[in-house]
Point group: C2
Chain length 199, copies 2
């Protein structure tokens, strides 16, 4: 191996990033060293500040450097809607749609075989949050996977005795998709959930 120890250490460190293998890590390290040292320093500082400074919002449990994140402390948002997602990344995805209610972030999904029970993923905190607020509707936006569906079903059950509208993201054809490429399950949902066209 012909890299010097510091370069080798940098290449190894880059490999922890998702989708980065040996060749990409080499290119990243050498490009920064040759062309953008100040950018590299900025990245080092941003990383260090973020890893140290970012915790979890006490209200929605999303990633935030404040005790209460900027989404939760924004008073203009709709206090009657609560959207439940599986992770912080999902908050940003839902936020792109223009949704302006509240969020609650679970720590993943239920998976009893892996030891992930209601306590581990944050169901007690979710119930606390719901009792604290004045929600009218709870939107279950867990992933449309077996585990995500099971998690949504579990939450719907424990909330059944409360006076809340509980909804789930619609299943159906993705925009721009082709009928022949869509799996049977999705197409069944799309057919069963068909909507009258208003002309």
């Amino acid at each position: 191996m012909s890299f010097s120890p510091l370069i080798r250490q940098l290449i190894d460190a880059f490999r922890i990033l998702p989708g980065v293998g040996q060749k990409t890590a080499q290119r990243m390290a050498l490009q920064l060293l040759e062309r953008d040292r100040s950018g590299g320093q900025r990245l080092a500082q941003a990383l260090s500040q973020a890893m140290d400074g970012i915790g979890y919002c006490r209200s929605c449990r999303s990633l935030s450097e404040e005790e209460i994140c900027h989404l939760c402390s924004d008073l203009r948002r709709d206090e009657s809607l609560l959207c439940i997602v599986q992770g912080p990344m999902d908050v940003y995805a839902v936020e792109q749609t223009g949704y302006r209610g509240r969020y609650f972030v679970l720590k993943g999904h239920l998976s009893p075989l892996d030891g992930l029970g209601p306590e581990t993923i944050g169901i007690p905190e979710l119930l606390g949050r719901i009792n604290q607020g004045a929600f009218r509707e709870i939107i279950l936006a867990t992933n449309p996977t077996v585990e995500g569906e099971a998690t949504a079903h579990y939450i719907a059950q424990i909330l059944a005795d409360q006076e809340l509208l509980i909804s789930r993201l619609a299943h159906g054809m993705p925009l721009g998709g082709e009928l022949e490429m869509v799996d049977g399950g999705t197409l069944s949902h799309a057919l069963a959930g068909r909507r009258p066209i208003q002309v």
Copy 2:
């Protein structure tokens, strides 16, 4: 935009990496924050150490944290061979081939229109290095592009009056290539440079 300031800063910082756009940068930032904070800290430290600590070898001018890099200070290497390349990345590429002579790294290639003359790319230092050593052969391993060829030609000319064997990397078919896919120029070189087969 719904990311908190520290996360946004981290995402922006990741975008300086080659091949990393907005979506990839988001995924990198959130994955480190959610799953591998210690890895993120290691990356921050490795970056900071590398950007501060790595300079250029005084002998071959490749990237190195030592004044003389480990390739130049290795006494077992062939002192009679000098391989001239356009950048540090090329040293690692040539090193993979099993070459065990010396290196000299230019700062890119000659490009008079861009103001890159012999002084800018390090020709005076190259001549100093050649006079200092006891080389028998100089291998011109600049890229097989118009600028790389011009740079190789220029160096060959100024070394013409010295008693040195000056060679250039062979052109020809890449291994695993297909005849019909190779460009005409490469095929011409491959034909002109054909070699007798020893049976």
